[in-house]
Point group: C2
Chain length 228, copies 2
DNA sequence: AACATAAATCTGCCATGGTAGATACAGGTA
DNA sequence: TACCTGTATCTACCATGGCAGATTTATGTT
């Protein structure tokens, strides 16, 4: 995937750390996140923290208000629905390309991710499940060989979807349905049935959207930003 | 589009400045771009320059090699083809959504852009034509109402496509073909024929890709990076 | 002359300081 | 009590310094 990465910069490590903290709920949605506090907590300077936050804003996980502060992004309903449409669009197109160009890579990535999802379920680790889920779908996009789509998916759609996934995998323990859908998608790919695979993707994402909608109906709305 | 922007940060201004310099060729493709030199040239500090470069890397205009330097990205053939596929994917999906949800907005935006394209052709203004062309396609994406897709299209695909456009902007004399395709797409939208519209988008982008390929066959290849 | 090696320089990366702007709070007035 | 205002504090933003890694150049050996 990445040809060169071992000398990972502190900024990237920090971004990874903060992203994970947001996804697993360590940093609450809508909460203010200060450069200084994060730097102190990680025992580093404010510079890499600042750059990491800028990156996370591009990814959509935080929102930076100039001279006011950085806040963990709370996705509203329209944002999630837009994201779902976007995701279906990219995944469907990439599924076709991946099956055409690199079916073995695609199937291998899917199977590996499903292994991890099984492990996460057995360990009842919601966060690990969310991450494995993300890897499953990321495999579709990366196997397409289209770097432009892969970058967008990995840097703007994946993290936000993982955030949303984690939000209700804790309360709804029906990972089984999700697992069945992933298995069905894998089977369709093994059979080379693109249309069937695309239909499953569509249904899967729609189900996620419905889950999100219902989980929000019975939840309080944290303040998104100091001003509207 | 942007609700708040007046107090634009120096980092954003710097990013805009560098982006324009790259697109118009002021900074040569493949050339090394130093934080220190840019900061000196703009009479500012290295901090905002560094953050701006990070942003431009996300957009795909530059490539940052850790501890080695930042280089203006030279799109190779695969990159452009990937970008074209990505563009077709987004535009096709957005066309459907726009016709479903806001056909009047879509048709209005298309007609306005076609007006501008006609004017540009009569005035033989290639740059104005390119901008109107971009607005035409952007109308499709924005009319879809999907903010996630619109952001990606505007911030990731747009700049790189503009760069590509500039690369062979001198030679394209067949704006008439392009105009005919846009007119055909508008007609298909007026008739509500989504499939026909999507087919036209596909053909249009393929034509652009062919243009690019031919323009590269008779051009030298600047070095992309110090190492492979 | 060709190559290997080592010193010097260049450059990005992270740490820290100063400043301006925004928010929060306290005190005073209607 | 409610509202306005002035002050204090907080925080992001930009400037600058020190350091480490990488590239280039110079030098000595074969």
């Amino acid at each position: 995937m990445k040809p060169i990465s071992p000398p990972q910069s502190l900024m990237e490590l920090t971004a990874d750390r903060i992203r994970e903290a947001i996804i697993v709920g360590e940093l609450q949605l809508g909460s203010k996140v200060s450069e200084q506090r994060l730097a102190d907590a990680l025992s580093i300077s404010r510079s890499p923290v600042r750059e990491a936050l800028a990156l996370l804003q591009i990814e959509g996980l935080v929102r930076i208000f100039p001279k006011r502060g950085t806040f963990v992004f709370t996705p509203d309903e329209k944002t999630v629905l837009d994201l779902c449409d976007h995701r279906v669009c990219l995944e469907s197109a990439c599924l076709q390309m991946a099956l055409d160009r690199a079916p073995d890579t695609l199937l291998g990535g899917m199977r590996q991710a499903m292994e991890d999802m099984h492990k996460a379920i057995r360990a009842k680790d919601a966060a690990a499940y969310a991450l494995a889920d993300m890897r499953f779908h990321r495999a579709i996009v990366t196997s397409s060989g289209n770097l432009s789509m892969a970058r967008v998916y990995g840097s703007t759609i994946g993290p936000l979807m993982a955030l949303r996934t984690h939000l209700f995998t804790e309360m709804h323990a029906d990972n089984q349905i999700s697992m069945d859908q992933h298995a069905a998608l894998l089977a369709a790919c093994e059979a080379g049935d693109i249309q069937q695979g695309q239909a499953i993707i569509e249904r899967h994402v729609r189900m996620l959207a419905d889950h999100y909608r219902r989980s929000r109906e019975s939840a309080v709305q944290p303040p998104q930003s100091p001003v509207t």
